[in-house]
């Protein structure tokens, strides 16, 4: 992946005038994304648009320079990410277009020249790109199907500005940084802002699976792909064995495509089924030469080191372990938040920030990960919870049984056996309205929504009209409301947590902070579309999650390793921020003055919350821990972008090549 940035400006300016007025903002924007790509920072000023690119060179290291321009049509583009099927696409395009390089960027350029925006349907990849097409006199922006590659934009006095990260929009002077209270409120309740909202005022994110056209001062956004999660019916009798075979083929193909690179590809190994399977497939394709990387925790409650090591030794990979201590996680949070550019309810991004630093240090630019399997194959507890609650809602007369819930959440309450009725009461939330689109997420959002109790009266008043759940539900295509509950749950999970948090705050932003590109075989759209066609019972068999995937995995892994249940990845929170190991920055961030200055949280409630968590860190409830994390990250966000830190050289490039403004700028 790389960083892209750019903006429109009035047409008809002489090349000299363009350079004088817009050269420096373009340089600053491109440099602000320098951490994403140290291998070249280049820009071009055309008649009416400036495009900048910070490059992480992975395919055709020599020839893949950007911005890339076609002399005949004047079509010019900047691409962040990868078109994995560029080899196949190139064969189809070669008759009509003479390729000068081996890069996937040029394949996209040729495809665009041939088919315009319709070419996106042919792309298999993770990408965000901008195309200046003089034929339509428009600036086009597009983003991949699941939202792996980020793309932000803002309206400016000259039209439109865009960038891979919001910090570039600030650095270029396109937007004055300010917190967006509605976006924050959405984040506190739903874990992520509802796209196109962000945590910053005036900064929007392009919806995943969308293409936007900016022409004559107007932006039109269109979704080019959708995943129909409700197509598997009982009539669709897919033969199980054949299903397993086809899944195995598609997965192997997805991994094979993602090993395409002119630099070595490594993998993250969490110890769970999904990343183990990806590693096993990749290692076989690479004939046993794969390197693996893992995060381990000094705190044994979160540590999966034993499983990681047994998997790595089974596969025979060159394994690297990064051990995180509470102090380490705490110390990294300011940087993690500045890269994530959103408020966080978990500290989990910080260890990934550290891991990508280690990967970079070892000279690796590309890693495979197991992200996406839980969404596609119903791996999360939330899906089981939905199934249990759905059963309750359908059988109100039957005696409810808490047994399945106890199996789901064995660690839940310290209340003893008699508490079954209380558990049922809590998990019975919303049972009277099972048709509601948010039925599956009521419990989760009730827990995270408690963060709002800590907000200041002023914040509450100013966001009184913002109902995050209502906003989200209003943004959902109408047909989704008619889907069966598990399909709706999957849709919401992909819409909020996956693209809004896991792939961004915990994904792209943490990897690219150290110029590491993560690739996700499970998010290949051929895998996603196949998974969507499978009946639920092949994914969630009873309460056994990812059933077909487990059986499929036995083609690559011993049964005993496959059988291990998922241990959800979590990083310590309360101990990090409230305990004796609390980092130095918390003193300032949690000070009543700083809290009042930022204005989002109530200083007195934050003080009481910290006291509560410091006294009982071990028994901290999930919502209390989330609240403290929300406070900390909001304060850090304000500090990083509204305070003085932006002026520091941190967003002024970092190590890497100097910015070059292309000499052919005047040509188009």
């Amino acid at each position: 992946m790389c960083g892209i940035a750019g903006f429109t400006f009035p047409r008809g300016l002489q090349a000299e005038a363009r350079r004088a007025r817009f050269g420096e903002p373009l340089r600053r924007m491109t440099q602000a994304l320098g951490h994403r790509g140290p291998d070249g920072r280049r820009g071009v000023l055309l008649d009416g648009v400036g495009l900048g690119h910070s490059r992480l060179a992975i395919v055709d290291v020599e020839g893949g320079r950007q911005p890339m321009r076609d002399g005949a049509t004047g079509v010019t583009l900047v691409l962040n990410g990868e078109i994995f099927n560029h080899v196949e696409l190139r064969e189809r395009l070669e008759r009509a277009y003479r390729f000068r390089t081996r890069s996937d960027t040029e394949v996209l350029l040729a495809a665009w020249i041939a088919r315009g925006a319709a070419c996106i349907d042919d792309l298999n990849g993770q990408f965000a790109f901008a195309v200046w097409d003089p034929r339509s006199r428009a600036l086009w922006l597009a983003r991949d199907r699941v939202g792996i590659a980020p793309l932000f934009y803002a309206e400016t006095e000259h039209g439109l500005a865009f960038a891979s990260e919001a910090k570039a929009l600030f650095a270029g002077g396109c937007v004055r940084p300010a917190l967006d209270l509605g976006g924050l409120k959405e984040t506190f309740q739903l874990w992520a802002p509802v796209a196109p909202h962000t945590c910053f005022e005036g900064v929007r994110q392009l919806l995943p699976r969308s293409v936007a056209c900016f022409r004559d001062g107007r932006l039109e956004v269109r979704r080019y792909w959708d995943l129909d999660l409700d197509q598997a019916t009982s009539a669709d009798r897919l033969d199980e064995e054949r299903g397993e075979g086809e899944l195995a083929e598609r997965l192997e193909q997805a991994v094979r495509l993602r090993l395409r690179a002119d630099v070595p590809v490594a993998a993250y190994l969490s110890g769970g089924l999904d990343s183990s399977l990806v590693c096993a497939i990749a290692n076989r394709l690479l004939r046993g030469t794969l390197s693996t990387y893992s995060v381990a925790f000094a705190d044994a409650r979160y540590d999966e080191r034993i499983h990681q090591e047994s998997m790595a030794s089974h596969l025979g990979t060159r394994h690297h372990v990064l051990e995180m201590r509470d102090e380490g996680t705490g110390a990294l949070l300011p940087d993690a938040v500045a890269h994530a550019e959103q408020a966080l309810l978990r500290s989990a991004p910080a260890p990934f920030f550290a891991l990508s630093a280690l990967v970079q240090e070892r000279g690796v630019k590309v890693v495979l990960t197991g992200e996406g399997a839980d969404e596609a194959f119903l791996g999360y507890d939330l899906f089981k919870e939905t199934k249990v609650r759905q059963f309750w809602a359908r059988s109100p007369a039957a005696k409810w049984r808490a047994a399945p819930l106890r199996r789901l959440y064995p660690s839940l309450p310290a209340l003893g056996e008699g508490s079954a009725a209380l558990l049922q009461q809590f998990y019975g939330m919303g049972l009277d309205r099972p048709e509601r689109a948010d039925f599956s997420h009521l419990i989760r959002w009730s827990t995270s929504g408690r963060v709002l109790r800590f907000c200041s009266a002023e914040f509450a008043a100013r966001t009184a009209s913002v109902d995050p759940v209502a906003r989200l539900l209003a943004s959902i295509p109408p047909r989704v409301h008619g889907w069966r509950p598990l399909a709706r749950a999957q849709y919401l999970e992909m819409e909020t947590l996956l693209s809004g948090y896991l792939l961004s705050a915990q994904g792209d932003r943490m990897q690219l902070a150290h110029a590491v590109e993560a690739r996700f075989p499970f998010l290949d759209h051929h895998v996603l579309e196949f998974a969507a066609r499978l009946p639920d019972r092949l994914k969630l068999r009873g309460l056994r999650e990812k059933d077909i995937l487990r059986r499929c995995a036995e083609r690559w892994l011993p049964r005993a390793l496959v059988a291990r249940a998922k241990f959800p990845y979590r990083a310590p929170v309360a101990g990090v921020l409230a305990g004796p190991a609390a980092p130095e920055w918390t003193r300032e961030a949690f000070s009543p003055e700083a809290l009042r200055q930022v204005g989002v949280f109530d200083a007195d409630k934050v003080r009481r919350l910290r006291a509560k968590l410091a006294a009982l860190p071990a028994s901290a409830s999930e919502s209390d821990a989330m609240a403290l994390m929300a406070v900390a990250s909001t304060q850090l966000l304000a500090q990083a972008f509204l305070g003085q830190r932006l002026a520091r050289p941190r967003w002024e490039g970092g190590p890497g090549e100097e910015f070059v403004l292309e000499p052919e700028a005047g040509a188009a």
Partner: protein, 81 residues
């Protein structure tokens, strides 16, 4: 402070809620979650010197300010009798 006021004050303090109705379900509205219930029961046992048996951990006894107050008052008067 009355029993009701004491319990209300505890809930406001421990769960950071500002306002809630006497009859509002703690669990169905998320005022208190299932973890929080353990905290609430510990508070009741300590403050009112009562002992809550497993069989009494029921929504009928605990799932609103109204219900908790009545439950505690029943327990206290019974142990006083």
């Amino acid at each position: 402070m009355s029993t009701r006021e004491l319990i209300r004050a505890f809930i406001v303090e421990a769960f950071f809620v500002d306002e809630f109705g006497d009859h509002e379900s703690f669990l169905r509205t998320g005022i208190v979650d299932s973890m929080g219930m353990a905290q609430l029961v510990a508070f009741l046992e300590e403050t009112f010197r009562i002992s809550v048996a497993d069989g009494e951990l029921l929504p009928e006894n605990l799932d609103s300010l109204e219900r908790v107050t009545a439950f505690v008052e029943r327990k206290v008067s019974r142990s006083a009798a």
